[in-house]
């Protein structure tokens, strides 16, 4: 591909994602403030954003770190939250013809938002996909840095109740996902089960058990009926991280 053409496609991808920055920045700020009050250093907080680059998984991980959860449970929760990227990969792999070298790069920076933009656009080139992916990567990491510094400026975050940001953020992520009865039922059942389990089980186990159980419940409830919206780009673009 000629250089000018791929530069143009990269730019189009980069700017196609820009409207979603508005959703990413507050989420990144909230994540970094929570990470800081969970006791993570700036390097650790930033490393999660640069290397894992998955908002809701990072956010849940720092919440679990804060209550002293073991590494294995955090990794398994991360897996559970991020395994949906399989669907995006399968969908993108069919639309975009990526070379062997491009695939790991495209995979590393793949997110809900980039998938949504790439799938909804008529584009088929790697530079466009990479432009959209790096657009989010840049903004997510800047927001992480800004959030951590902002958190450092607050003298006593615990007394301000900043740990409330954690449930508030996940409420804000959850509510827009609830459009059908099955989705509402799964949310209510999962919330109730996790609450009960958290009374007796430590750390991340309630989240893991409920995550698997609640998802299986949803899959069973929608058996044969509900149309699959899991891999629809416009839905993915609305979900964060």
């Amino acid at each position: 591909m000629p250089h000018a053409e791929s530069t143009g496609a990269f730019r189009r991808g980069f700017w196609a994602l820009a409207p979603l920055w508005l959703g990413v920045v507050p989420f990144g700020l909230a994540y970094a403030i929570t990470a800081r009050s969970a006791g993570l250093s700036l390097l650790e907080t930033q490393a999660l954003s640069a290397l894992v680059f998955a908002g809701s998984a990072q956010f849940s991980a720092v919440g679990l770190f804060a209550v002293g959860t073991g590494g294995a449970e955090i990794v398994l929760t991360t897996f559970l939250l991020n395994v949906r990227h399989l669907l995006y990969g399968v969908s993108l792999g069919r639309r975009f013809s990526l070379t062997r070298r491009e695939r790991p790069v495209a995979a590393f920076f793949l997110t809900d938002e980039a998938f949504g933009i790439a799938a909804a656009s008529g584009e088929r080139s790697f530079p466009f996909l990479l432009g959209a992916e790096l657009s989010l990567f840049m903004m997510w990491n800047l927001a992480t840095l800004a959030g951590f510094l902002l958190g450092s400026a607050i003298p006593d975050p615990a007394s301000l109740g900043v740990d409330l940001v954690f449930p508030l953020a996940f409420i804000a992520l959850l509510v827009p996902l609830l459009r059908t009865r099955a989705e509402l039922a799964v949310a209510l059942a999962s919330g109730a089960l996790a609450y009960v389990l958290s009374r007796s089980l430590p750390g991340g186990l309630p989240v893991l058990i409920t995550g698997v159980g609640g998802s299986a419940l949803g899959a069973i409830l929608t058996r044969g009926g509900a149309p699959d919206r899991a891999a629809h780009p416009e839905d993915a673009a609305r979900e964060v991280g």
Binding site: I74, R84, H85, G93, F170, L173, V175, A194, G214, S215
Partner: protein, 97 residues
């Protein structure tokens, strides 16, 4: 707490999921497509309920703030509005009358 090994594990499972999809050509079985659709819903809900009450004896006003935030999330679908509304309600209710 071992941060860096945990981070390495998180990177491995996240990159693995992203890469496996790109090299896979066949669609997933329908049950697993539906299962994956519900994962964020189940996990997000299970992260919310145990963390609402908090450890500082402010469970009542925290629950109230979360309920108002849920309403704001439903009406506006904006993450930052929901967090801002929730924190504002929490701080207002904290003022001793």
């Amino acid at each position: 707490m071992s941060f860096w090994p945990t981070l390495a594990g998180m990177v491995a499972v996240t990159f693995g999921s992203r890469y496996a999809g790109l090299v896979r050509r066949a669609a997933l079985p329908p049950f697993w497509v539906r299962f994956l659709h519900f994962v964020p819903i189940a996990v997000f809900a299970s992260l919310v309920t145990p963390s609402v009450a908090g450890a500082r004896g402010e469970a009542g006003i925290r629950v109230a703030a979360c309920l108002v935030a849920a309403l704001a999330a439903w009406r506006t679908r904006q993450l930052w509005v929901s967090i801002a509304v929730g924190m504002a309600v929490f701080w207002l209710l904290r003022i001793p009358f």
